[in-house]
Every structure is written in C-alpha cells, then in structure tokens.
Amino acid sequence: MIGGLFIYNHKGEVLISRVYRDDIGRNAVDAFRVNVIHARQQVRSPVTNIARTSFFHVKRSNIWLAAVTKQNVNAAMVFEFLYKMCDVMAAYFGKISEENIKNNFVLIYELLDEILDFGYPQNSETGALKTFITQQGIKGQHQTKEEQSQITSQVTGQIGWRREGIKYRRNELFLDVLESVNLLMSPQGQVLSAHVSGRVVMKSYLSGMPECKFGMNDKIVIDKQGKGGASDDAGKSELGGSGKQSIAIDDCTFHQCVRLSKFDSERSISFIPPDGEYELMRYRTTKDIILPFRVIPLVREVGRTKLEVKVVIKSNFKPSLLAQKIEVRIPTPLNTSGVQVICMKGKAKYKASENAIVWKIKRMAGMKESQISAEIELLPTNDKKKWARPPISMNFEVPFAPSGLKVRYLKVFESKLNYSDHDVIKWVRYIGRSGIYETRC
C-alpha cells in the first residue's frame, strides 16, 4: 500500500510530507526531488523506481504530488487516489497552489489522516468529509450524540456520499450534458478517428433521500422497448426534445452512487444522488457522430523561403444554431520570419511565441463557410530536418450534443417527504466542445 505522500513546490521543496509506513524513510523525500523534479528533462514515466522504491506522481500547475511505496501496490488505485486527493483539496480551498497549500497545511494533514489509513484509501467523498473535517476544528465538542453517529454512519455507510436530513424549499435539479468531440482527419478529409467522450453532470438540490432514475436515448434500451410494445416511457419525454433517434453507446462509467448491478441487468440508471454538483456518468460513442466543423487545409511550399497556407472551415449543423468561441490554430515552422494573414471573418494573428497563426471567430451559424489565407516567410536554414507539420487544431463550443444523446427523463421519487416528481424543477442543457480536434496538413 501507499507508504507515504509528499507534496512539493516547483523548486522541489517539501510542502507536505506524511509517511504511513515504516519502510519509507525521510531520504525518500530527497530521492524524488533529486531524481525527478531536478532531473530537468521531460518526464519519461509517471512511475519511477529509485532504489527499490516506487514513486507515483501527478502535477497540478507547478505543484508535484508524489505517492511512495516499496510494495507491489495497485498502481491504478494510487493514481486514482492522487487525483481524488486533488479534488478534495480543491473542494476545500480552491486552486492547488503553493500558497493555498501552505495556508492550509494543518487541514491537509487532517485530511490525509482521514482519507488514507496505513496507506489504504478510505472514504474520500467531500460531501461526507465536510461534515466532520472543518477548518474550525472545534465542531467535535458541540456535536450531539445523534450528530456524531450520523456522521460515522454516513462515512462508513452504503450511501457515503449523502447525508440525511437535507431540506430545500425549492426542489431543483440541473443536468448538463457536456461532450467533447475528438477528431483526427487526414489532409484529404478522411476521418482517421473520431469519438465523443461525454459527461452528464448533475447539480441537485433535493430534499431528503430521493431515489432518481435517469433515461436517455440509449439504443439498447430503445430497441428493447420497441420490442416490448408500448411501454409507459416510450415516446414520452419529459425533458429535452424528442427522443426518436437512438444512439449506440460504446461504453459508459458511473459515479459510485449508481447501482451498477441494476444497470448491468436492466440497463436502467437508478441512484440516490449526492447533494450539490457531481458527475453522474461518462460515456463514449464512436458511431454517427455529428462533426460540427470540417477543416480543409491547403499548404503550398513556394521555394525554400515561403509557404502559402489556405484553410477553409465549414460548419455542419442546423443553421438556426450558433457555434461560439471558435479558434483555429495553424502551426507555422520554427524558422518563420513573418506572416501575412487575410481572413474573411473574425480575427487572425501570428503568435511567434506559440509558432502558430491563431484565428478566432466569436460566433458562426450552421451551414456556413469561412476562409483564411496566409503567406509565411521563412528564414533560410541549413537544418536538414524537415518541419514536422503539426496538425491544425480547432476549438469551439456548440449548443448540442455531437453524439446525438438526448435526455429522455429524470424521475425523482422521495416517499418519505411530501413532494413528487412533478414538483421538482428540472433544467437540461447540452454543450458540445472540441476535444482534440485535429486535421493533418
């Protein structure tokens, strides 16, 4: 199991050091600093073995988090724990920075004591932690016996992510379907790979211990219902548009509140939600993806000192919808001396520090087309190596889900309190963003 956990600043100075196991000595702290942080070269592996001691590290801005062990630990678990640790710290004091860590070092030690026992990760849901690890640190004395046992039963219980007795005057929930669409296209316009990785993020403000059921236009469910004749859910969609079309989901993963065995057997998504914001599910699709933009590059080398670049982008969605925050990044060679750009729409600039022409368009409706052309002057070099021509990448945001996912319903049942599914105010929003959206040129 995890033998120790260290947090360093960018210089390699220790900010937090907590040792859980006897086999990890103080010299381990220095070993990591010397061999990894001060190595001054690109990190070749997130796992480093130094003198039979294994170091796992992740970086958040310029802060290094390292877990140390001498045993054959579950490596996936260690990384998941380090990410979780970052989430918990962020939930307590915001951005993970040197200053914030120093300001909260007592809290961090307290958290580390609680969520990692003898190197075994324990309940690390912030919802639960915040009930008894507070920055005031005095709550302990004022708790009643009931409160105390409520805390412990929540921390260890089956529903460790939600406490009892939550009350809201207005029961409300927000569903965000956030998708990132990834594309790799050849210069000839052939799709080399494309997939959507999506997340359903939920913000729930519901009283009591509500039981929720979430439905979407999952092909397997729709097909099943189609066979079973008119089911009560079919065709009826309470939220977000018509669910005629169904989509094939390659794979999905769920927050720990979702009953996985029920999903496995019936493919229904039921759960008691945590309070506040959390990620209900993640999914991945590869079939019938709507690619919101197409990039058509044309690069011509004119002699050894000049490049002509022309890039056309075409939007490919309903004309009534608007894409926002569009940015096209056209890489330029390292020996670029000057660039002239002409674009029909938006603004384009050559950024020498980034070796790229960045073309920004604020808004663009569907089924439109826009073009940029640039002349790139090059310094003559005797470097034999050819320019690697990195792909043209694109960023954007569109108000629909490129995978075609639709929310069909989200039902809320709370039998003990007197509110019903109809009393809950529900909001659904779809946002499609570019993931790694690249076209080779």
Partner: protein, 983 residues
C-alpha cells in the same frame, strides 16, 4: 525557510493571518521559544505553537527535543489540537520510545470516549506508534474497538490490526486478533468488511502458507455482496482479494464473473482494472465453447478502451496492462486498433506504449491504416518515439507479409528525409527485412549505399556492412565500400569490427580474385592488431578455414540463415501468466514479477492462472490440488537455455567412452583431431552465434552455423552432411507413419513400440559406410539398434559413436561394440544401450538426435529422430487423485488436441496396446457411448504428460487431448499415440 519568509513579506501587512506563517519559524533559539509557548496557559497559544512544530517537522527539521512538551498538550478537548499532537507523536515516538509511554494513558482513555470519532482517532494513531514496549498496552483498547458498536471505529480498528501485525506479528497471533478480523468479514457494514479484507490480505501475504484468508464459497458470497455496497476503494480491496481465489469449477467461476462484470462500468479506473484482473483470471476456467465465454470477451473490450480517456498517468497504467492483455488474449482488442493511434499532445510515455500495442495488433486487415500512422509518427520531434516508429514499420513488414513491399517503400521515403537517426534506424530494420524475405527487395541497396557516410551509430554501421557483405555479388563497388570502413578499423566498436571481418570474408568467397589483398588486410587487423578476444578468435577461424578448405569455408560462411521470428519482445509465457494475476499493480506496470522489486517476504509468492476445469469430474476439494502440486511441479527440463552446441561438437571425444578398442587413426587425421580437441574448441566456445557473421538472429542460427564449422574445420574435405540434419529431418518423421501401416498386425499387443528400420546414413555420403537402424525400449532400457554395412572396397574398423547434446539428454551408455573389422559387403548388427542422463539442449524438432560415427576412414555425421515413446518410463502411472489435481493445475493454454483417424480398436484394446508402451490408463469413463480414457505418461526427465483419449463406438476417429507443463512435447506424444495404436 527561505521561501516561507519571502512569501510572508510578499503578502505584506494587509493580508489575513493564515497558517503559512508557521513556516517562518526558522530563527535561532526557536526551540526554546516554542518550548515556552507549548507550556503556555493559553489554549490558543498552545495550538499556535504546535502548528509551528508541525511546520518545522514537515520541512525536515528536527524538533524531537520538544517531545515532552508536545505530549503534554495531548490531554485536550480540542480535536484539531489533538490531531496535531498525534501527528507529532507518530513521527517521533520511535526515536523517543521511553517518552512515548507517556501517551499510552491518553490513548486508553480516548478509546473509551463517547464520541466515536475520538475513539477511532485514538485507535488509528495508536497503531502508528511503532514502539515495541507500548504495543502490549494497546491490545485491550484495540480488542474493544474491534467490537465497537460504531462501524467507523470498527473499520479503523480493522486496519489497526494490520499495523500492529507489522510491528509485532507474534503478539497479534497470540492475542487472537486474526480471528476477530476474520469475523469482521461477516460484518453488516460494507466498509468494515472491505478494510478487514485489506488487512487480512496484507497479513496473509507475509504468511504465504497460512490459511488466513480462508476463501470458501460462503466468504466469497459475502465479499460479492459487500462489493455492491462499499466505497470505490473498498471495491478495489475486495476485487484484489477475490483475484486470489480459485473457484472449484467452471460453474462457480462463471457465477463470480457474472457478479463482477457490473464493476466494469465504474468511474474509478482502478475498480475497472481490478475487475478485469478477476475476469481474466477466472475466464481461464471457463470452457471456450461456452456462450458466456464469448459474451465475456466482448464485454471486456469497451471498458479497456474507455480507460484511454482517463488522465495520462492512468492511461499509462492502463496501456501497460493492455500490453499484457493483448499478448494473453489478442482477440479482445483486435478490432480496436484506432483507439491506440497516437495523439499529437499525448505525453511521451503514453505515445511509446501506444506504439507498442499498435504493432502487436497489426494484422493484414488494418495494416494500411497502421502504416499511414507510423509514417506520420516518423516525422515527429521526440527522437525515441521517431526511432520506435521507424522500427515499428520494419516489424510490420516482417509480421504481415502482404505489407512488406509498402513498408519497404515507406522506409525508403524516410531515408530520403536524410534525418540522421531516421536513416540509421531504417537501415537497421531493412537488414531484418532482407533476412526475412531474401532476394526480394535488394533493388533498394543502391539507395542504402548512398547514405553510407551519414551512419555514425554502431548498430546502423554494422547493419549496413552486413548488407554489403551479404549482397557483395550485386554491389559493384562492394570492395571499395568495405575498404572505406577498414581505414578506421580500430576506432570502430566491436560490433562493427566483427561485422566488417565477416563481410569481407563473404566478399572474398564471392569474388576471390579481386579481393585477396583486402581479406589479408582485415585478417591481419583482426588477429594481430586487436586485443579483443572475440575478434581475434573469429579472425583465426576464418583464416584457418580459408587456408585449409575454401569450399568448406563457403559452406560455413555463406550458409543459409534460419528464419527470423515474426513476433518480437513477447513476454515469456509463465511470466505473462504471473503478470496477468497482477493486473493493475506495479508489477504489471514494470512488467516484472513483484519479487524483482519488492524487498522481504512480501510478493515473493508466484501467482498462477487457474487451469481449465476437467469437465464433470471437478468436485475435488482444493486441498488435494495443493498437496499434490509438488508432484506435478517437476521442472520442465525440456527447455534448458540455448546451449553451446558448437563447443560440444568440437569437444566430441571421438574415442569410445570406455576404451576397449583404442582408435588407431592415420597420423594425418590424428593431427586434425588434436587441433580440434585442443586449441580450437576453447577458441570457439566463446560466442558461437557470432561466428557465422550474422547480426542478432535467433538462437537456431548459432546451431546451424556451428555445426557447419565443426564439419569444415575438423574433417577437411568431408562433404557437409549436417544441413541434412536440419533440413531433411522432418521428412523422416513423416515417413515413419506411413511405413507403419504395413506392420499393422493384431497379435503384438504387449511390448513397447519400435519403429521400423530406416537408413540414416547413405553409403555414398559416407565413403561406403551405410548405417540404418531403429530404436527400442526393452525392459526399461533404451536401445539403439544399428546395422553397419560396409559398401566400400576396404576393411573398416575402429568404430566409435558419439551424440550431440539433445532435448532429453540421450547418450550412449556404452561403447559401440564392433569387435571384428568389417569387411567389404559385410553387415554387422549392434545394439547400443542409451542412457538419458547426458547433457541437455533443446533440439528442433524435439526428438532430433545428431550422431557422429567414426571409423578408421573418417568421421560421419547424421541425424535421426526417435519416437518419444522411447522415453516413457515404466512407473508412469499416476494416482487418480493426483491426476485430477494435476490436470486442473496445468494451465489450459498448455492443452493440445489431436485427431487420430482410422483406428478401429476398442477402448480396452487401445488401452492395452498403449500400456505396452508405458502409456497408462488412470481412469476410464463412459458417457453416451463415448469412452474416455484418462492416461498418464512420465518421461525420463520427470515430465508428466496427461492425456484424455475419447473413443466413440463406431467412429474410427479418436480425439486426443494432451496436457503437459512442457507443451512442446504434446505434438510428439500424439504422434506416438498414432504410431502405437496403428501398429
């Protein structure tokens, strides 16, 4: 601390007071000041002081002097302060054991506190105080906490048992904590169960033979129930524990798999990977024809692909594991090539791993896409990555023959880029392509030669030189090219020097007229001016070869090279199996067994995949399996490391082992012999595989070349008989079966099977000596029955025989008894007893035997194959129980199935017949007109072979399943079955 004080200054007066100020206490005399503050009456001041102490501790300052003062603050109602003091205690208790006792009372008291959070805190901290003296005092509080009414306390106490065990294992056992811990597996609270499982697993690891984690169907059921309810971390503990269980049969295995599969949809990648581990392991036990098996395979792919959308560090862990999974079960991800395409912004460690998996998944179906990608990668920035991509193109060419041409042209395109390291890497792989497809792509040589000057790495230079030497006859200026390398001979690395030497000798053999001077020059450089023994030895050998017999030299140096393998970098199967059992852990990331990087007793146990359950008869208790595993663990001695064949052949002591008939060879030959026995064998012993002058080939190459040299050097003008040993041997085996049908009598039911006589050495190849013979096993002794016929005009005498090292260590147990000289046209029959205790080296085919026979005229070599039934020993009948357990214990991948056609014996007759050849029927079962014979065989080297023979009444085709720890044997065993049954 410098940074801390700077920070404070930067923040200035206006900023609010926060904890970072504690990092500033670095002044001299601070310890004294702290001491005063710690003893202050004001609570706030005390707390401030403790915080300062902790801050100093964090940055590595020694504040142990404050121990008594800090411990004094322990008795407080303030939970935050208490936690800080505990933190201090955990750090320094070990260095101040006497003082630590002061804290005991507080712990005992806190363990009685009405607040469960305080009780848990006390028990948690207690275990971290690693002082032997006080552990005893902690037993009572711990015992209470293990039975606490509050689950939070119990789950903390469960971990505390593991802590205590780490300090004093004996104490934990004596106090009976292990039993209490076992009881917690049945706790009503899932988190208590999970922590108890984690603690027990850890303790069990340091007691490999204890039955601590007594996993039985009941506990498994409890664990599976808790799995649905506990935290993500608890699920990992439980899954990792489940992976150590061996289900009793395929049905149990399937039901566990069914309950584990839902975990594949968990958001936590570690839960997913641990579930994959359980499934990969238990899948081994499922029959492959089961529908569920196919379903399971399909279910595994999507979650593995999803892991690739996790954060890069987790992607790396996932990719290292996928690399193993792809080797074990390529079918799972064979259609998912695209997801392994490298993204421009992937971290380098992700890129390199993806590339590895791409090559493993490359097949004819996807090769076009893969090549297009690889070409793209070859233009990237990172040198390692680019090199690997170029190498990958070469590997594709070798793996997928249809793509070879495209790969070569891609490589040529890359060479045109003139990027130095790309060119060099491309040349190294093109050399391999030449090896794999000789005489196909030589048209590109001209392009390669253009780049000669840019090569500065030894590997690339050596590859280029190899190419020039190998194709010297097609390169007009080969001599000039090689000569240009020769100028700086002594500055080259050994690799290049050796290659250059061989290449020039090759060139000389191909174009002797123009290159005499060059070869002289290189030989003298290598033998006279070099200090490197390898180089010198190789130089001497070539020199002697060339001067003694250029024809033989040609046979040796220009010998045909064996094929190179398609798959490279495969993990050795037993290691792979072990790593599959460690999916998700560090072992799977390093691709090393835990024993390679874990100290002490932990992780030294080697894990194994379970064996596929024998259908129907699988109700054995697991205990039997353990008790007999020792028996079946006989080391698979068939596969010793590649031996030094060359050295051995040269070492052949050509005199008979017992000197009844001392050889009287002519003085001429005597000289040659001496030379052989003396200097040369030690000369050549060093590096046989480099002798032939080939780069990095397979071990088989060493064999082929080595044999050739033995013949050439030792025997002068003797025709080279050995290539027949490599090439013609399989044909003999094939012929055997056919011959057998002739002798298909009925009466011969008992007695070991003996193949018919075959001519091993033809007279025209051996100066008139014809040797034919067969093998037999009589009364437990293996015998080689040889007929020697003299078809020459003169008398032959002084016969002696010697075997080369072979797979089962066969060696003559006595001399070849030919007492009287053999006159022209005379034949003598000799029975040579054989032992199986000679030197062992794996042969190809396995039952190949290379023999040297000497007479007064010359030494002759031939190779023959013996039926493996020769090696079946008389005590090969296995106990029924042992058989069952062994059958289960052998991984199902080792199982091979064969069809025996056109056999008309009843099952009893077959059983009798087989028994004659020491194939023993352990049990017989009849199911629906189908007889199943379970049979065991033991080989002379202790390897057990288990077989199941299915005979269906009225069906002349039998089905034979063979299971053996050394699966290479199976094929030969099945051949024997066929021969024996049809005899």
């Amino acid at each position: 601390m410098e940074w801390a004080s700077q920070l404070c200054e930067n923040r200035g007066l206006g900023s609010k007071m926060t904890d970072s100020k504690y990092f500033t206490t670095t002044k001299k005399g601070e310890i004294f000041e702290l001491k005063a503050e710690l003893n202050s009456d004001k609570k706030e001041k005390k707390k401030e002081a403790v915080k300062k102490v902790i801050a100093s501790m964090t940055v590595g300052k020694d504040v142990s002097a404050l121990f008594p003062d800090v411990v004094n603050c322990m008795q407080t109602d303030n939970l935050e302060l208490k936690k800080l003091v505990y933190l201090y205690l955990m750090n320094y208790a070990k260095s101040q054991p006497d003082m630590a006792i002061m804290a005991v009372n507080t712990f005992v008291k806190d363990c009685e506190d009405p607040n469960p959070l305080i009780r848990a805190l006390a028990v948690r901290t207690m275990g971290c105080i690693r002082v032997d003296k006080i552990t005893e005092y902690l037993c009572e509080p711990l015992r209470k906490c293990l039975k606490d009414e509050d689950p939070y306390v119990r789950k903390t106490a469960a971990v505390c048992v593991a802590k205590l065990h780490d300090i004093n294992a004996q104490l934990v056992e004596d106090q009976g904590f292990l039993d209490t811990l076992k009881d917690l597996i049945s706790d009503s609270n899932p988190m208590v169960v999970a922590n108890a499982v984690a603690a027990l697993s850890e303790i069990a690891e340091s007691h490999p033979n204890s039955n601590l984690l007594d996993l039985n169907p009941q506990t498994i059921n409890k664990l599976l129930t808790a799995l649905n309810e506990c935290t993500e971390w608890g699920q990992i503990f439980i899954l990792d524990c489940l992976a150590n269980y061996t289900p009793r049969d395929d049905r149990e295995s399937q039901s566990i798999c069914e309950r584990v599969t839902p975990r594949l949809s968990h958001a936590n990648s570690a839960v997913v990977l641990s579930a994959v581990k359980v499934l990969m392991k238990f899948m081994e036990m499922l029959p492959k024809d089961l529908d569920y098996y196919g379903t399971l395979l399909k279910k595994l792919a999507p979650p593995l692909v999803t892991l690739l959308s996790a954060e890069p560090e987790l992607q790396y862990v996932a990719l290292r594991n996928i690399n193993l999974i792809v080797q074990k079960r390529p079918e799972i991800l064979k259609h998912e090539m695209k997801v392994f395409f490298v993204k421009y912004n992937d971290p380098i460690y992700v890129k390199l791993e993806k590339l590895d998996i791409m090559i493993r998944l490359a097949s004819q179906a996807n090769i076009a896409q893969v090549l297009a990608e690889l070409k793209e990668y070859a233009t990237e920035v990172d040198v390692d990555f680019v090199r690997k991509a170029v190498r990958a193109i070469g590997r594709c060419a070798i793996k997928v023959e249809q793509s070879a041409e495209r790969c070569v042209s891609t490589l040529l395109d890359l060479i045109q880029t003139k990027v130095n390291y790309v060119v060099q890497e491309a040349i190294v792989v093109i050399k391999d392509i030449f090896r794999k497809y000789p005489n196909k792509y030589e048209s590109v040589i001209a392009t390669l030669c253009e780049n000669l000057d840019s090569l500065d790495e030894p590997e690339a230079r050596a590859a280029m030189i190899w190419i020039v030497g190998e194709y010297a006859e097609r390169i007009d200026n080969a001599d000039e090219l090689l000569e240009s390398f020769l100028e700086g001979f002594h500055d080259e690395s050994t690799q290049v020097q050796l290659q250059l030497l061989t290449a020039i000798v090759k060139l000389f053999l191909k174009k002797p007229t123009e290159t005499q001077e060059l070869v002289q020059q290189v030989l003298s450089l290598a033998t006279q001016d070099s200090d490197n023994p390898d180089l010198r030895d190789r130089g001497y050998i070539y020199w002697r070869l060339l001067s003694t017999d250029p024809v033989a030299a040609k046979e040796v140096v220009l010998a045909e090279k064996p094929l190179i393998s398609e798959e490279t970098d495969l993990i050795e199967p037993t290691l792979l199996e072990e790593l599959i059992c460690h999916i998700g852990t560090l072992a799977s990331v390093y691709h090393k067994p835990p024993s390679a990087f874990v100290e002490g007793s932990r992780g030294v146990q080697h894990k194994r995949l379970p064996a596929r359950a024998g259908s129907g008869e699988s109700t054995e208790s697991p205990d039997v399996g353990q008790s007999v595993s020792g028996v079946s663990d006989a080391p698979p001695a068939v596969i010793p490391s590649q031996g030094d064949l060359l050295g051995d052949l040269l070492n052949l002591d050509l005199a008979p082992p017992t000197t009844t008939v001392p050889p009287v060879p002519s003085s001429m030959q005597m000289g040659a012999m001496d030379l052989l026995g003396g200097g040369l064998d030690s000369l050549m012993g060093d590096e046989p595989e480099t002798l032939g002058g080939d780069l990095g080939g397979s071990p088989a190459m060493g064999v082929g070349v080595g044999v050739g040299v033995g013949v050439g050097v030792g025997l002068g003008p003797a025709p080279v008989g050995m290539p027949a040993g490599l090439g013609a041997a399989p044909a003999v085996g094939g012929g055997l079966g056919d011959l057998f049908d002739l002798g298909g009598g009925v009466g011969m039911t008992s007695g070991s099977y003996s193949p018919p006589r075959v001519v091993w050495l033809q007279a025209m190849k051996a100066k008139g000596l014809e040797i034919s013979g067969t093998f037999a096993r009589r009364g437990g002794v293996i015998q080689m029955d040889v007929s020697l016929t003299n078809k020459a005009m003169s008398v032959m005498s002084d016969f002696a025989v010697q075997f080369n090292k072979n797979s089962f260590g066969m060696a003559p147990a006595g001399p070849l008894q030919v007492l009287t000289p053999l006159g022209p046209n005379q034949t003598v029959e000799v029975s040579l007893p054989l032992s199986s205790t000679g030197p062992v080296m794996k042969m190809e085919p396995l039952n190949n035997l290379q023999v040297a026979v000497k007479n007064n005229i010359d030494v002759f070599y031939f190779s023959c194959q013996y039926p493996i039934s020769l090696l079946f020993v008389e005590d090969g009948k296995m106990d029924r129980q042992v058989f069952l357990a062994t059958w289960k214990d052998i991984p199902s991948d080792n199982e091979a199935q064969f069809q025996i056609k056109d056999c008309h014996l009843s099952s009893d007759a077959a059983s009798n017949k087989l028994q004659g050849s020491n194939i023993f029927t352990v049990a017989k079962r009849t199911v629906e007109a189908q007889d199943m014979l379970y049979q065991s065989i033991k080989l002379t080297n202790g390897i057990w072979v288990l077989a199941e023979l299915r005979i269906q009444t009225g069906n002349p085709n039998y089905t034979l399943s063979v299971k053996c720890r050394a699966p290479e044997v199976s094929q030969y065993v099945s051949q024997c079955y066929e021969l024996i049954l049809k005899n």
